[in-house]
């Protein structure tokens, strides 16, 4: 006889209070990894083990985990770019209007990732570099996070120097962990108060096929503590260029009250007040668009395991022409809290995520239809629901709005010139 039969049993290998407090407040019971568990919030290393060919094991119907087995198709910098490039080519081949290009050969609707090369393709990169020798490029290790290992270059000699200095003498490295990508650095970011910032948005995916994703309304902007300058002498100053909190935290000016963070509603208020409503709405529409497109790009290759859901941290930079760029997607967005506000936000984020992923807080059945009622969404709003988009008529516009203090409005005609009806199906 199990008195505790009704309670969800949880495990985690991430010791963060925002997680644990949420489990405890639901009355769930903590168990060990080798025991019978229903819910496991795992780190990305652990998910690799669970689904690996050698050490992996089968999950039963009443077990849920917080990552998709091959999430790295989206969350590794090189694979994300590869999948998006593939997706675009496929659309082009089908003759889809989404893949339309302009007179310079740039995709009109799908150009949202800065030009990126995977470093074994050194020659292709050099060709591109020589076309615009005054550009700055950013080197990023594929498998690392928190701004580790990133640096900027604006001369070919700097790459050569790097490759000489690093242990591997060629760009083809033994383990894929050391692979690098090199992307065009966005050196005209939108500045506010003279400071550079990026956007962190949380996106929950409950299933890839059909695609069902939710966007958290309370994203935030991360500001660099030091004034932005595109001057080449400051290329080495990581405080100027990288907005990762992990890096900014160590700068002299880091403030522990606001943590250099602004809410997305502040951003919206500022942009509406200084730039106008139309361009602001267009910007936020585009942000939603690129998130959905990135998910659609990886959906075909994702292992849509029914035991899985995932909460991603999207990093987006806005340039001074108000165009958003997708920088990367994080599988394990930081759950560390740098300020009191931060702690509240992340606590609520996990809370709302659990409400959607584990309906009613009861022992899950992974066969459920993954369609939570509207009331439990909390601060999430539906970003894209493929099933609904396909079944409903053309007059149903399901794009989530980042409804901030200005309020979420009803259907609004899309004015960006994209073919409205066909794109969302």
């Amino acid at each position: 006889f199990q008195i505790m039969a009704g309670k969800v049993k949880w495990v985690t290998d991430i010791e963060k209070s925002v997680l644990i407090n949420n489990f405890e407040k639901r009355g769930w019971i903590q168990v060990a990894e080798n025991e019978d568990w229903n819910f496991y919030w795992m780190s990305v290393q652990t998910i690799r083990n669970v689904f690996s060919v050698e050490t992996g094991y089968r999950l039963s119907d009443d077990q849920i985990v917080n990552h998709f087995p091959n999430h790295y198709e989206l969350t590794r910098k090189d694979l994300m770019v590869k999948n998006i490039k593939r997706y675009r080519k496929e659309l082009e081949k089908e003759g889809s209007p989404l893949a339309e290009k302009d007179e310079n050969g740039k995709y009109i609707y799908l150009d949202f990732v800065p030009v990126t090369f995977m470093l074994p393709d050194y020659n292709l990169f050099v060709e591109e570099f020589r076309k615009n020798p005054s550009c700055t490029w950013i080197m990023k290790p594929c498998g690392k996070a928190q701004g580790k290992g990133i640096f900027l270059i604006n001369k070919l000699s700097q790459i050569k120097k790097w490759s000489r200095d690093s242990k591997t003498s060629s760009f083809v490295s033994q383990s894929s962990k050391e692979a690098y990508v090199i992307s065009l650095y966005i050196n005209n970011p939108l500045l506010i108060g003279g400071k550079k910032f990026d956007l962190r948005l949380y996106v929950l995916v409950s299933t890839y096929r059909p695609l069902r994703c939710y966007m958290y309304k309370l994203g935030f902007c991360r500001f660099c503590t030091v004034k932005y300058t595109p001057s080449t002498s400051e290329l080495d100053n990581m405080f100027v260029h990288l907005t990762n909190v992990a890096i900014q935290k160590h700068g002299d000016d880091y403030n522990h009250i606001h943590g250099g963070k602004w809410t997305v509603s502040n951003l919206r208020l500022y942009l509406e007040s200084t730039r106008g409503k139309e361009v602001t709405n267009k910007l936020f529409d585009e942000i939603h668009w690129i998130i959905v497109q990135s998910l659609k790009a990886v959906a075909p290759v994702m292992n849509n395991d029914k035991h899985c859901f995932e909460c991603y941290g999207y990093d987006i930079i806005i340039d001074d022409k108000l165009k958003p760029w997708l920088i990367e997607v994080n599988a394990s967005p930081s759950l560390t809290s740098s300020t009191a506000n931060d702690r509240i936000l992340k606590y609520n984020l996990i809370n709302d995520t659990l409400n959607i992923a584990v309906p009613n807080g009861e022992i899950p059945d992974c066969k459920w239809n993954k369609s939570p009622p509207k009331e439990v969404l909390g601060n999430y709003e539906v970003l894209y629901d493929e099933e609904m988009a396909q079944s409903d008529g053309p007059d149903r516009d399901l794009r989530g709005r980042s409804g901030q203090s200005t309020g979420v409005k009803g259907n609004r005609a899309r004015d960006s010139g994209k073919p409205v009806l066909t794109t969302w199906k």
């Binding site: 108060g193 400071k195 606001h258 500022y270």
Partner: protein, 553 residues
């Protein structure tokens, strides 16, 4: 009592006098001269125009007319002014002046009466100023820092380079203290007494139980309802009727359309009326500029640049006070930390702006004087210190911070702030009997609370938590730093719309009313402060509307 006509002509004369010195006048003159150059009849035109409008405008009427008909000159000029848009600009300028100045008093009244009619208030303000100046001077002596000093050339260069990122500077400010904080000012206000007024009665429910004990006239709720009639329940408001649940066709769309029309017409008076119902975020920057009559002309930009070079060349002691204030307040604020550098750029220039001295003609305050070293008391060696006559206090930078959400161009931001200061904010830290002065606001707040929430008022008083002790800082800062920015801007819309700060007192009372249930349960000042510590989730318009129009009185 002045009769209508002489009152009107006094007003006209005063406005004309002021406009003659304005940039509008020089624009018109320049424009007219350019046109008049095309014709040789300069002199004759000038003579005819001398009497027109009381001002001296040369205006060539129409480029198509080969010669000027002197008979139709007056009408032709009127038409020209209308079609060229100058009439509107003139109207806006006149309207702006009317807003700022009190109605003319008796022609025999001395200038102090324009500043402050009540003698005891003037005296109290004078004493307060002496205290502040003493405090500033003693800080100066203690730290052996001169009030003003020319910067060495190397320092000037460095500052110029760092102009856009003064926030990264880390000067040692540990020895500086703010000259005063709002609570010091409250103590002074509490001790204000009218020597001509003897209230022999014992304190009772009939009397005023609050901290302010001067008999100024403040409005009651029926009068406030009339004054703020556009906020009533049956009129659409931004901040209420634009929320997510309300379809925009009901109010918002039409309101935005009207706003765009007002902007197209460039009519200050219409804009002022319009924002009483709130301003759409996308139109707010332009509407406020229209109401405040700020157009950011080249000469305004030049003026700002001149102030900037003053900052570069000379170091003032108040600069350190400004730095300290920004570091203590805005830099730690969730909403405003981003704009830290803009705040320095505005406030340092503000301190050196002598045009701000003009507002002392209608403010009860008088700019502090300082003397060149060694020449104490000699009037020829007196200068106003700081040059703009305004000594910043703790929280002063929060007057500027919200404006950074609207204006990202430094010279425009500067002008908007300066205008807001000389129209409104100066009243929040000077002692006067003006209905928008802080004393009246405090009394209005306390009276509203005592009249409409007597139980709460009495309870708080009993536990040693006089409500004004908590709400004073909100009102002095016009709620900046206490409300969420979008709510604050909706509130400041109404300050501009009604040309009055009374709404601050009404909102303060409304906040207490909103949290009354919790406040009734507290047993100490600290606990009361805690209940009212966080106003960032409040929606101001519903609170105001309910308090004014939906509370049973």
């Amino acid at each position: 009592m002045l009769d209508q006509d002489s009152g009107l002509s006094l007003t006209i004369a005063r406005i004309v006098q002021r406009l003659k010195g304005s940039s509008l006048h020089s624009h018109l003159e320049r424009q007219a001269r350019l046109l008049a150059l095309m014709y040789n009849q300069r002199h004759r035109v000038r003579k005819k125009l001398a009497g027109f409008f009381g001002c001296y405008y040369h205006c060539q009427v129409s480029l198509h007319k080969p010669e000027i008909k002197l008979e139709s000159l007056k009408e032709d000029i009127k038409d020209f002014l209308k079609t060229s848009g100058w009439e509107k600009k003139l109207q806006n300028a006149v309207y702006s002046e009317l807003n700022m100045f009190p109605s003319p008093c008796h022609p025999a009244a001395p200038p102090e009466h324009m500043k402050e009619p009540l003698a005891y208030m003037r005296k109290a303000q004078g004493s307060w100023e002496k205290r502040i100046l003493k405090s500033l001077n003693s800080m100066c002596t203690e730290l052996s820092i001169p009030l003003a000093q020319k910067r060495p050339v190397s320092e000037q260069k460095e500052l110029l380079n760092k102009w856009n990122e003064m926030g990264t500077d880390e000067p040692d400010l540990s020895l500086f203290r703010p000259v005063y904080a709002p609570k010091d000012f409250l103590e002074v206000l509490m001790n204000l007494r009218n020597p001509n007024y003897e209230n022999g009665e014992q304190p009772s429910f009939r009397n005023h139980l609050g901290l302010i004990q001067v008999p100024l006239k403040v409005k009651d709720i029926p009068e406030l309802k009339e004054e703020f009639s556009e906020l009533s329940l049956n009129i659409g408001q931004l901040g209420i009727d634009d929320s997510a649940q309300v379809p925009p066709e009901f109010f918002e769309n039409e309101h935005v359309r009207v706003g765009q029309k007002v902007l197209a017409e460039q009519d200050s008076a219409a804009a002022q009326q319009y924002v009483r119902q709130g301003s759409p975020t996308a139109l707010r920057a332009d509407l406020w500029a229209l109401i405040l009559n700020i157009s950011n002309q080249p000469e305004d930009i030049l003026y700002y640049e001149q102030l900037k070079s003053n900052v570069i060349q000379h170091n003032l002691l108040v600069d350190s006070l400004i730095y300290k204030d920004v570091k203590l307040t805005a830099s730690n604020d969730d909403y405003y930390f981003v704009f830290e550098d803009y705040l320095y750029q505005v406030l340092l220039c503000f301190s050196r702006d002598t045009s701000v001295l003009e507002h002392f003609t209608y403010s009860s305050a008088t700019p502090p004087k300082s003397y060149i070293r060694g020449k104490l008391g000699m009037e020829e060696y007196a200068v106003f210190y700081p040059p703009n006559g305004v000594i910043p206090f703790h929280g002063f930078s929060m007057y500027v911070a919200p404006l950074c959400f609207l204006y990202h161009e430094p010279s425009k931001l500067y002008q908007i702030f300066r205008e807001m200061y000389v129209r409104f904010f100066f009243r929040l830290h000077s002692i006067s009997s003006h209905p928008s002065g802080i004393v009246s606001l405090c009394l209005l707040f306390e009276t509203l609370l005592q009249t409409h929430l007597p139980q709460l008022f009495y309870h708080l008083r009993e536990i040693g938590a006089q409500p004004l002790r908590i709400s004073f800082k909100w009102m002095v800062r016009a709620f900046s730093g206490y409300l969420a920015t979008d709510q604050l801007l909706l509130l400041w819309d109404r300050i501009l719309g009604y040309n009055s700060l009374e709404i601050l007192a009404v909102l303060a009372a409304a906040v207490f009313a909103f949290r009354a249930v919790n406040l009734m349960e507290v047993t100490s000042l600290a606990a009361a402060e805690a209940v009212l510590a966080d106003l960032s989730t409040l929606k101001v318009m519903p609170l105001l509307q309910i308090f004014l129009f939906a509370t049973v009185t």
